[in-house]
């Protein structure tokens, strides 16, 4: 028996969400596991180290020589976890603010570009989806190009966009939108058609206009589909923004930080790693915001367990 108009959700117990505590625990376990693997690799394959100091008057002298050697686990390619964490606190330049603070500022800048790209890309993606759903001809004519647009390496076309638009962070937002619209279009194509066929017949029996059907049936039905794609799009928009920053020479974002610390990698590999961590924090944070929006918007819906 289907209560829901959307055909996707099936019978499930809406109250059976795993506890928040368990989610946090699982997350912690994964982080700890990652650190263990990371440091384990260094223990086995990394560079030898020696601690020669004294603690409370007691001399300490520990030496570790890893049994194997591999280039990927040297301090240069894989700095110790605490060094990466420490890089956030240490100043990037002598007497300057800590790197973490600088990175946070740059992250905010990049996030703003990504957000603008996400909003425009998302709207464009949805509009395309709505257009395609209403015109089979347009769908057949243009969807292949939409797909083709994503097979072009973004790295190759981002300098073109930057040069052509000469618009600073706006061109970055355009590149971000370029990566964002695609998953939304694909999800819209599916979600806007996902309603129960009988719901369409019901609309027909009301002599509903296409606009009625769109607003009262198609769009509400597509919301869960759209949010799945918006999560993908949020992550992609951050990547798009960072990639867009590289050729545009914008100094205020994470893109320039990546370029910078990449250049001086040998003198401080942990800084590049810290920047990478910051990039993924921005992406994760953005995806988390989208998820929050989804929860708020679909509170009243019948939700299958697997979407929790």
């Amino acid at each position: 028996m289907t209560a829901a108009v959307a055909t996707a959700p099936s019978i499930a117990n809406p109250t059976a969400a795993p506890g928040r505590r368990r989610v946090v625990m699982a997350w912690l376990v994964i982080v700890i596991g990652l650190v263990v693997v990371w440091e384990g690799a260094k223990w086995l394959f990394g560079d030898p180290w020696r601690i020669h100091t004294s603690l409370l008057g007691l001399p300490i002298d520990i030496e570790h020589i890893p049994p194997f050697k591999s280039r990927i686990a040297t301090d240069l390619s894989l700095p110790h976890v605490w060094k990466v964490v420490g890089a956030f606190i240490e100043p990037a330049q002598r007497n300057g603010p800590p790197l973490g603070l600088i990175l946070a500022g740059q992250a905010l800048f990049t996030f703003r570009e990504a957000l603008i790209g996400f909003v425009f890309g998302g709207l464009l993606g949805l509009l395309l989806g709505v257009g395609f759903v209403h015109s089979k001809l347009a769908e057949r004519a243009f969807v292949p190009y939409v797909v083709a647009s994503q097979t072009v390496p973004i790295l190759a076309i981002s300098p073109l966009i930057v040069v052509a638009t000469k618009a600073g962070w706006v061109s970055v937002a355009i590149i971000s939108a370029y990566l964002t619209f695609f998953p939304v279009t694909i999800a819209a194509l599916r979600g806007l058609r996902a309603a129960d066929p009988r719901a369409f017949e019901l609309m027909r029996s009301y002599a509903a206009t296409k606009r009625n059907v769109l607003w009262k049936l198609r769009l509400p039905t597509s919301v869960p589909y759209l949010f799945s794609s918006l999560r993908v799009a949020a992550a992609a928009s951050v990547i798009g923004a960072i990639i867009g920053e590289l050729p545009s020479g914008i100094p205020d974002g994470l893109g320039s930080a990546l370029l910078n610390y990449n250049q001086y990698y040998t003198s401080g590999p942990e800084r590049l790693w810290a920047t990478i961590v910051m990039c993924s924090i921005v992406g994760l944070g953005f995806v988390g915001l989208v998820r929050l929006g989804e929860v708020l918007l679909t509170r009243n819906r019948y939700r299958p367990q697997e979407s929790r």
Binding site: M1, T2, A3, A4, V5, A6, P14, D196, R198, A199, E201, L202, M203, R204, S205, Y206, A207, A208, N212, K216, L217, P220, V223, T298, N300, R301, Y302
Partner: protein, 279 residues
């Protein structure tokens, strides 16, 4: 038979209606030579084996599909005109409720589409919630209701804009026997209150006899009307109706009508299969 209520105007008038699906080579004849008149205030059930086209006939009346031949008039107009004029309400086997809308908002859906003012919508919705006895559940969402309650919301929604005709396609087919019988009583009460003409598709003989003023018995391959049984049980019908002798007689009559057609329909098929097997 249509003269039962001579005062009532013709609500549905089907003449020589046929419906085939598929293209010329793979065509399946779902309906053939259907003549049926339904007058205002009637409760007509369509019953028959699966594949007899009873749902197709209902959908033709509602202009959810168009006939391959013949004509269908609803309220004296072509079926399409009647649909565009919002002359009928529709109830499916599944409630087909919008799970993002509350009970009240689901009932208001057709009213929103038809451009009723908010105050009028709220008023109608409150009246109908009362009619289907769902007071107190206005703010609930469909998935928080039982199957029977969901179907009651669907009925309220179909009646929200006061259509002259209610089309119901096995509305209680997914409910358990006890809920179904209760819903039958409910429907009788609603019907007597609203005076809506109802066309009701079912595959349950007791249900058809209990509810209807006429039962249209159909046969399959191709779908035809094989017999129309007048149900002269007194109104209003209630729990006791199911225990009267006349009720059992009529149930038997409908069952006989269904069985005789089955035998006839089955026979040539067997012959054909045998012939093909030998050839």
């Amino acid at each position: 038979m249509a003269d039962q209520d001579p005062a009532g105007a013709l609500v549905v008038e089907a003449t020589g209606v046929g419906k085939t699906f598929g293209d010329a080579e793979t065509s399946v004849t779902a309906l053939q030579d259907i003549d049926l008149s339904i007058r205002s205030g009637e409760f007509v059930s369509l019953i028959g084996p699966s594949g007899c086209g009873k749902s197709t006939l209902l959908r033709l009346i509602g202009d959810l599909t168009s006939p391959s031949g013949g004509s269908i008039k609803v309220n004296g107009k072509p079926a399409q005109r009647a649909r565009l004029d919002r002359d009928y309400g529709m109830v499916f086997q599944a409630p087909v409720l919008m799970d993002w809308r509350t009970v009240a908002k689901n009932i208001e859906l057709p009213l929103e589409i038809m451009g009723y003012a908010a105050a009028e919508r709220a008023k109608r919705s409150a009246e109908l919630t009362k009619l289907v006895e769902l007071e107190g559940f206005e703010g609930r969402h469909p998935w928080q209701l039982s199957g029977g309650m969901q179907q009651r919301v669907a009925i309220a929604r179909a009646l929200a804009f006061d259509p002259k005709l209610l089309l119901m396609d096995e509305p209680f087919g997914a409910l358990d026997e006890m809920t179904r019988e209760r819903m039958n009583l409910e429907l009788m009460r609603i019907w007597s209150r609203t005076k809506t003409t109802i066309v009701f598709v079912t595959h349950s003989i007791p249900e058809a006899v209990f509810l209807s003023t006429r039962v249209v018995v159909m046969s399959a391959r191709p779908g035809r009307i094989s017999k129309i049984v007048d149900i002269d049980l007194p109104q209003p019908r209630n729990v006791d109706t199911r225990e009267t002798e006349r009720y059992f007689e009529l149930v038997t009559e409908v069952r006989e009508a269904l069985r005789s057609r089955e035998r006839e329909a089955a026979a040539p098929d067997v012959d054909r299969i045998r012939a093909e097997g030998l050839a």
